[in-house]
């Protein structure tokens, strides 16, 4: 065969592979408002940076006439590229090829690129768009899933893992995204569930649409399975690119430093918090008033909104922010907000990202549903995650820090490196009302005018204890600072912690309450 012929044959093979499931299937994909797998990859990566691997991989299944079927790239596109110059490994399932179904060759391609990502120490991005297991391949398909889950677990905490759900991701398949660090979903396109509406209807008689069961809104607002909601694939890709700038390539590196920028001019930080401790405000205004360029990249914005988590930069360096949100449920810790905060703290600790915690919470959410849902077990995750973390930990107490909530929110007692409080802080065993009602119970009950006595006792308790100075007098906090000093204090604390070394007892692994 002449060289020319060989090149022509190569071109033909590439062309066939790039057609995926063929023009008809591709048209169908577009009609569903979805991009094609390769187009998704090129949209996520820097222009011209994608290098595809394993384009000519073929399946080996012979049952059910599968040996007569050629599945282009076996239904998944894999390779490497860059995002803002950062190397990444990436795969995207191709729904036009046998519904993106996962067979053994398909799974092995994914495993290969995962192994590659771990070896190179670069983030892994997986785009999921698949009908599920390739039933014709039987147990081999299950083996494929298992090998992916195993790799997700081994790579956890070594390289950042990002999942993008751009189609159905159901049954066992959805456990791979669940094992990764960040899950992106897009309105009307993403569907995540273990058992679908059909099965639920047959077995339980409950009728529910796919959207209401595991659509993008439900996944980001109700279940918390996904972290980022977008209206379109383009918006979703823009968010992925932004996320990647905040996180390091792997657990041996730090996130890239950017040029330091002051916060944007806005309302004075000292005016954000209402004087009344029972009045709400948006804690994100405080975060924005402190961080570089007032740029706060929030994660899981719509789920458990009573706690706020996300990335920001201080003096150019990435920090992980955790903040109670008085605007929602008074900022209490509950089952969901505890899970949300604890997982984020562990991500930051695994990837060398300093933690900045803003505290304003009245305590834990009371309720039978909370107790029965295991708020003890879930709440304990926050204590565990903060105590375990050895990255620099800085805590700013804005207003209320009562009871167990005070301890949990990265207090000195859990190993914080710097704890500062604003003059508005109330660091106490509980709120003045509750404390006065317990301590002065008899006096209040026996008084001629119980309400007047109660008011007096609450005022007395507030005067004496609802401030930061008792905690400061005991050395539980390091300084009482004005709101305007916050940024400088936090930047300094993180800068002097850059060489922080904190050893932990040797162990195989700890046992966090999950």
């Amino acid at each position: 065969m002449s060289l020319d012929k060989k090149l022509k044959e190569h071109a033909k093979r590439v062309e066939v592979a790039q057609q995926g499931g063929g023009p008809k299937a591709q048209e169908k994909q577009r009609a569903m408002g979805k991009l094609l797998a390769r187009d998704r990859i090129t949209a996520i990566l820097d222009e011209g940076s994608f290098h595809e691997y394993d384009m000519f991989v073929e399946h080996r299944c012979q049952d059910f006439d599968m040996d007569k079927k050629n599945l282009a790239a076996d239904g998944v596109i894999t390779g490497t590229g860059t995002i803002s110059g950062h190397p990444v490994c990436i795969f995207a399932q191709d729904f036009t090829v046998a519904g993106g179904s996962l067979g053994l060759a398909h799974a092995r391609k994914i495993c290969k690129i995962m192994d590659h990502a771990v070896k190179l120490g670069v983030p892994l991005i997986g785009v999921n768009d698949s009908g599920g297991a390739r039933i014709q391949e039987g147990v081999n398909s299950l083996a494929g899933y298992g090998e992916i889950f195993y790799r997700n677990t081994l790579a956890s905490g070594v390289i950042p893992q990002i999942s993008v759900i751009l189609g159905p991701c159901a049954g066992g398949a959805v456990y791979s995204p669940a094992l990764t660090d960040f899950v992106f979903v897009v309105d009307k396109i993403s569907k995540m569930f273990i058992t679908g509406p059909e099965v639920i209807k047959t077995v339980l008689g409950e009728e529910i649409s796919m959207e209401d069961l595991g659509g993008a809104r439900v996944s980001t607002e109700v279940s918390g399975n996904a972290h980022f909601f977008s209206e379109s694939e383009a918006d979703c890709f823009a968010q992925i690119k932004r996320l990647v700038t905040f996180i390091p390539w792997n657990n041996r590196k730090r996130a890239d430093a950017f040029p330091a920028k002051p916060p944007r001019p806005g309302p004075a930080i000292s005016g954000i918090i209402p004087a009344e401790p029972t009045k709400p405000y948006d804690v994100r205004d405080v975060v924005r008033a402190v961080c570089d360029d007032s740029d706060f990249f929030e994660i899981q914005q719509h789920w458990a909104a009573n706690i706020v988590i996300g990335f920001a930069r201080l003096n150019g360096d990435t920090v992980g922010v955790v903040a109670n949100q008085p605007l929602v449920l008074a900022g209490v810790l509950d089952v969901d907000s505890s899970d949300k905060a604890a997982r984020f703290v562990r991500f930051c600790d695994a990837f060398n990202i300093p933690l900045v915690t803003f505290v304003d919470l009245p305590g834990y959410l009371p309720g039978v549903d909370q107790e029965h849902a295991g708020v003890i077990r879930h709440g304990a995750k926050v204590l565990y995650a903060y105590s375990e973390a050895t990255v620099p930990k800085v805590t700013v107490i804005l207003r209320k820090a009562y009871g167990g909530g005070y301890i949990a929110m990265c207090s000195r007692h859990l190993g914080a490196d710097l704890v500062v409080a604003w003059p508005t802080a109330e660091i106490a065993v509980m709120g003045p009302e509750g404390a006065a009602n317990i301590i002065f119970k008899r006096e209040i009950e026996q008084a001629a005018d119980p309400n007047a006595v109660r008011r007096g006792k609450v005022a007395e308790y507030s005067e004496k204890f609802a401030n930061p100075y008792i905690a400061a007098a005991n050395g539980h906090i390091d300084a009482v600072i004005t709101p305007a000093e916050t940024r400088e204090f936090v930047i300094h604390a993180i800068a002097i912690s850059s060489q922080k070394r904190e050893e932990r007892p040797a162990k195989k692994h700890g046992l966090p309450p999950f």
Binding site: T278, D369, G434
Partner: protein, 107 residues
């Protein structure tokens, strides 16, 4: 997508202090807990009632089989939680029941 600024305003009382805040969708839609009635036998799992073995007025002893509920491909005996008399039977064979649905009431 609703933002958390659009969430319904609510007052949350913690340690005798009322905080002005907003409720999450999950919190607003949570089901209030009601004490279970020990004399009401409810489906502990969703499924299909296979056979009902008792009639209204019948005396039964604790542990007697009231009915069989098929769920998750298993035939589950549903026993009487206490000794007494059958006050009402709310289901018939072949009926699909949801989790928590009342099956039989005793007195």
């Amino acid at each position: 997508m609703p933002t958390d600024r659009d969430l319904p305003a609510t007052v949350l009382v913690i340690d005798d202090t009322a905080y002005q805040t907003t409720a999450t969708r999950k919190f607003a839609e949570r089901r209030r807990w009601v004490a279970p009635d020990p004399r009401a036998v409810v489906a502990h799992i969703p499924g299909v009632v296979c056979t009902v073995y008792v009639k209204v007025g019948e005396s039964i002893r604790r542990g007697d089989r009231l009915l069989v509920l098929e769920a998750m491909k298993m035939q589950n005996d549903v026993p009487a939680p206490c000794t007494g008399r059958v006050k009402a039977v709310h289901v018939i064979g072949g009926q699909m029941v949801a989790k928590g649905e009342r099956l039989v009431e005793l007195e």
